[in-house]
């Protein structure tokens, strides 16, 4: 079942690659946010099933976005070059993919999420 996905990624080329990967996996990228304020706005208002969150958005951490998503009950995955060690206390249990990653890694972590599936 195709998922509607919000991508939060501040690196233009990486954002384009993630979009391509998700499309190839059969999902739909509903929005792309490259900076924190836009990401927070979309996290509060947009309709989607899942979010992929870069941790560092041009120098600012994306944890506030994660808080909004938790409150709305929308699952999310962190994507970061810091790896799991880069996650602050309170988020260390969250699913994470470490950059650089393969399309299969993305598939595996998405499949592991508690999502409504066909």
């Amino acid at each position: 079942m195709p998922l509607r996905i919000l991508v939060v990624e501040d690196e233009m080329t990486i954002a384009l690659m993630i979009e391509d990967m998700l499309i190839q996996l059969g999902h739909e990228v509903v929005e792309l946010a490259m900076r924190l304020p836009r990401a927070e706005e979309l996290a509060r208002q947009a309709a989607f099933d899942l979010a992929l969150l870069d941790v560092n958005l041009d120098g600012r951490k994306s944890f506030p976005v994660a808080d909004v998503l938790s409150a709305r009950g929308i699952p999310f995955v962190f994507a970061t070059g810091y790896g799991a060690s880069g996650l602050e206390n309170g988020y260390s249990h969250c699913p994470v993919v470490t950059k650089p990653f393969m399309m299969e890694d993305l598939k595996t972590v998405i499949d592991s999420l508690p999502l409504p599936r066909a």
Binding site: D10, E11, M12, T13, I14, A15, L16, M17, D20, L32, M34, R35, L36, P37, R38, N56, D58, G59, R60, T80, G81, Y82, G83, G86, T98, K99, P100, F101
Partner: protein, 491 residues
């Protein structure tokens, strides 16, 4: 055996007196103002017998000339001057201090005493002049008529003690100089560390001038005390150096770090008397280390991010129906652009780059000659690192396309890049960047949208938070970026 009987004591003069006594007995006194020994007055004989029994160096200076009669102990003091000194006049026997002895004789023969403590005199005793220190006590000796006829001197040399004291004082001065020269904090503790006796805090820690038992409260944090005290106990138990780097409460109330070392001072029995210590402020080094740790962490993240970017560019470059050779060239060229963008950012210490600098660095290397490229704007704009990187990559794509298909692909076309800032209808600051090609071959919109177009139209627009238009005009490609000007500010 007969010599020890009382009868012989009277018959023999002087009685005993060791080696010097023997010399006195055999000396020809008739050539001195004292005359033959058998004619000496009773007072002179009595004093001579008395001084010869003494283990303390004593010399008798008899008569106006101060004829010298002394004991074994004094002969040791006289060094190589003995035995010539015996029976000589004191002003001649000790010629180098004749003035000093002249005063002694005058005062003594007038019936008064003289006393000197640690008196320094320069004497020739072993061939060359050397300073000596002495405790000197002079008293007059009366003859049978009750008048002063001589001066008796008790001479105790104190040279060794004086030099030792001087050495001790110099050593203490050196120690004091060292403790004031060092920037280290100096402290003293009682043997059991219960009491801090003193601490010179160098303005960094509050001073302790009087012994205190509250030093833990003053200098340590409650949570650090067990670790510090454990080290202290170990040092006391093993009677060895205490060393620990620990946090301290500073005089200004702030928190710092100290590398502290203390050595035990022991008594003769090997028991600890007290501890003497020095501590170096390592707060700044600690801060550097923490900073370095963060930098390494951040660097690691950036390396991973750059690898992800490389992966993304490779994925885009090698997709679809492509000519492999050409794709490899494009990939290599994109890697160069990425590398240059990194230079730009590190040149600005990763805090931001200038718009003009980013554009120039991305496109100037591709221009066939400088005359066919201008980059200008009314005022420079600061870019965030991410925006500078995206803009560099986009400009690189425009430049390589111009070289392959556009204005730089013939002998005369040119590219002019201009940026301007201004207010939009709502009064908000806007930034406009225009890429304008002219003089190139006939313009045809590309049949296939490559990575360059995708990057510019989809990527850059979202990166800049504005719009990007690509117009294939008959005169050449015009690419226009419209974005809020506060690129560097938070968006």
């Amino acid at each position: 055996m007969a010599a020890d009987t009382p009868q012989n004591q009277t018959s023999q003069f002087p009685n005993g007196g060791g080696h010097t006594g023997e010399l006195i007995r055999s000396f020809d006194w008739s050539k001195t103002p004292l005359g033959p020994i058998s004619n000496w007055p009773e007072s002179l004989k009595t004093v001579t017998n008395m001084l010869l029994q003494s283990p303390v160096p004593i010399v008798l200076l008899w008569g106006e000339d101060g004829i010298m009669i002394y004991n074994d102990a004094y002969s040791g003091f006289a060094g190589s001057r003995h035995p010539q000194l015996l029976g000589s006049k004191v002003r001649e026997g000790w010629a180098e201090i004749a003035d000093f002895n002249d005063n002694v004789m005058r005062v003594g023969l007038s019936g008064r005493t003289l006393a000197y403590e640690n008196q320094e005199l320069t004497l020739i005793r072993h061939g060359k002049p050397a300073p000596v220190w002495m405790n000197l006590d002079y008293s007059p000796v009366m003859d049978e008529s009750g008048k002063p006829a001589g001066v008796i001197a008790i001479v105790v040399e104190t040279t060794k003690q004086v030099l030792a004291q001087r050495q001790l004082r110099e050593s203490e001065e050196r120690f004091r100089a060292l403790t004031s020269a060092t920037s280290d904090i100096i402290y003293q503790f009682s043997a059991d560390w219960k009491e801090m006796r003193a601490l010179d805090g160098r303005g960094l820690l509050s001073d302790t001038e009087r012994p205190t038992i509250n030093w833990q409260e003053t200098y340590l944090l409650p949570e650090d005390r067990p670790a510090v005290l454990a080290k202290v106990e170990e040092a006391i138990r093993t009677k060895s150096v205490f060393q620990l780097e620990h946090r301290v409460r500073q005089a200004d109330g702030g928190l710092g770090w100290m590398l502290s070392r203390a050595v035990p001072i022991m008594d003769e029995k090997g028991e600890i008397v007290e501890w003497f210590g020095a501590a170096t402020d390592t707060t700044e080094r600690r801060q550097y280390e923490e900073h370095l740790r963060l930098v390494v962490h951040e660097l690691n993240h950036r390396v991973k991010n750059n690898l992800a970017m490389t992966q993304a560019i490779a994925a885009q470059t090698f997709r679809g129906d492509i000519d492999l050779k050409e794709a490899q060239n494009r990939f290599a060229s994109r890697m160069v652009a990425l590398g240059q963008a990194n230079d730009l950012l590190t040149g600005e210490r990763w805090v931001g780059a200038s718009l003009g600098g980013a554009i120039e660095q991305a496109i100037k290397p591709h221009a066939p000659d400088d005359g066919r490229c201008t980059v200008e704007g009314d005022e420079d704009v600061k870019l965030s690192p991410k925006t500078a990187l995206a803009l560099t990559l986009a400009m690189h794509e425009l430049a390589t396309n111009a070289l392959k298909y556009g204005a730089w692909s013939n002998g005369e076309g040119r590219v002019d890049v201009r940026w301007s800032t201004g207010n939009d209808a709502e009064g908000k600051r806007r930034l406009r960047i225009e890429w304008r090609e002219s003089g190139g071959p006939d313009v045809r919109p590309p049949a296939r949208r490559g990575f360059g177009s995708v990057l510019i139209e989809r990527g850059l627009a979202r990166e800049m938070g504005g719009t990007v238009t690509m117009e294939y005009l008959p005169t050449g490609l015009v690419c226009t970026v419209e974005a809020p000007e506060n690129l560097y500010a938070e968006r």
